[in-house]
Symmetry: C2
Subunit: 243 residues, 2 copies
């Protein structure tokens, strides 16, 4: 609940309030590799350190709206997948004051991600998750590690991977994402079967020419209603636990 579990009516002056921010861990795929957006801090504390983008919530917006606003400010991208990750609120995680951070995960499509963040900018950058900065500001290493772990585990039993792909893609590109995020090689044949049987994809007549046999492109079938859930694979060691 809130407020007066005891007998007294609420007195707003009785409680000091922490600051509340929303941090958004933004993932995208660049050259088939998973990247995350970080910003470099310009002031004390953690000056010069890289940090997960975020900011204060406004009093009239929901947490998710705040996350979407933050996301758009950083990347200019709207209409992405967004999910609440966890709320971090240890005292002392920010030396200036008590800050409660509600962390979100965002997945940005590969074809939309170039829009706003240029490679030349020195204070906002996409980092490959396999080669992150040594140290991040605040407790952001912990947040980021948890975000990656959540992404991994959810990938296996949701259609989350499609959020990272462009509108049209080949099945082997999809397999590549799975391999990227899960960090292991998958069998081509079994992958084909599993995806095809899931009925998750819609065949298009678009074909991409390349070195070998032309590649048929597919699109994620969004119209399915009340369908069986897609489960790529169950892995007991990928259980989402609290950080």
């Amino acid at each position: 609940m809130e407020v007066e579990t005891s007998q007294h009516a609420y007195d707003p002056t009785r409680y000091e309030r922490p600051a509340v921010t929303v941090d958004v861990v933004i993932f995208t795929l660049i050259n088939q590799e998973l990247h995350v957006l970080l910003v470099q801090r310009r002031h004390w504390p953690f000056e010069g350190f890289w940090a997960i983008p975020g900011g204060f919530i406004n009093m009239d917006e929901s947490l998710e709206a705040a996350a979407r606003r933050e996301l758009e400010e950083e990347t200019g991208v709207r209409d992405v997948y967004l999910e609440q990750l966890y709320t971090f609120g240890d005292p002392g995680r920010d030396p200036r004051m008590r800050v409660i951070s509600v962390a979100y995960i965002a997945l940005v499509r590969a074809d939309a991600q170039k829009i706003s963040v240029s490679d030349e900018s020195t204070d906002v950058r996409w980092w490959p998750v396999r080669a992150l900065p040594d140290q991040l500001a605040f407790d952001h290493e912990q947040i980021l590690a948890y975000a990656i772990s959540r992404l991994r585990s959810k990938l296996e039993y949701t259609t989350l991977a499609f959020q990272l792909l462009p509108e049209l893609f080949s099945i082997l590109e999809l397999k590549h994402i799975y391999e990227q995020i899960l960090g292991e090689k998958l069998d081509k044949g079994n992958f084909y079967r599993k995806i095809k049987e899931s009925n998750l994809l819609e065949e298009t007549n678009v074909v991409r020419e390349g070195r070998g046999r032309p590649t048929r492109l597919w699109r994620f079938r969004r119209d399915r209603t009340a369908e069986k859930q897609f489960v790529f694979r169950w892995r007991e060691d990928r259980i989402d636990r609290n950080p």
Copy 2:
């Protein structure tokens, strides 16, 4: 991150702050049935409605510490399983002011739960989850529904069920909990095998006499280190999603 993603140093007066509370959904087993603890409100708003216990965080305690404090205030119980559920923060969810609520789930052992909450008390009560009050205060119906759904899904791939049982129990009591929470009958033979093979239980020489053949009691093996994770079953329709 926090604070000044823009160029300006932080000015504490620039932002109005929401109130932050911690709500704890406390589950226990009474007569083999899953119950949840609710408190009845005595003041506006939602006077007379039942609500999930909770309260403001102190400025010097972590979120989890606040949840433990709240839990102890309500039940007098320490040393229980506690897990962060989700953070609810829509504007208008509390008519008095902007409140961000970090919700937690707590599992209280069956043998410890009688301690503090008496059945006669009119404003604090254990409610069976199968017969909850029609309406709850604030958005607490949503919070409770999500808590139950999370409990169901986690039961299947964690050892969470043991947190609800007393020190010693029979395998068929454990099966009963699974049936309670999952809401379906399980095969006796298959359940035995699965639990025994998991090596999760330690045989005791305690036996309980009853109507039929004496019942051997078991205890949860806490000493296992780096062992294989226990997965009771994978069910694709029990995926934990945001509320």
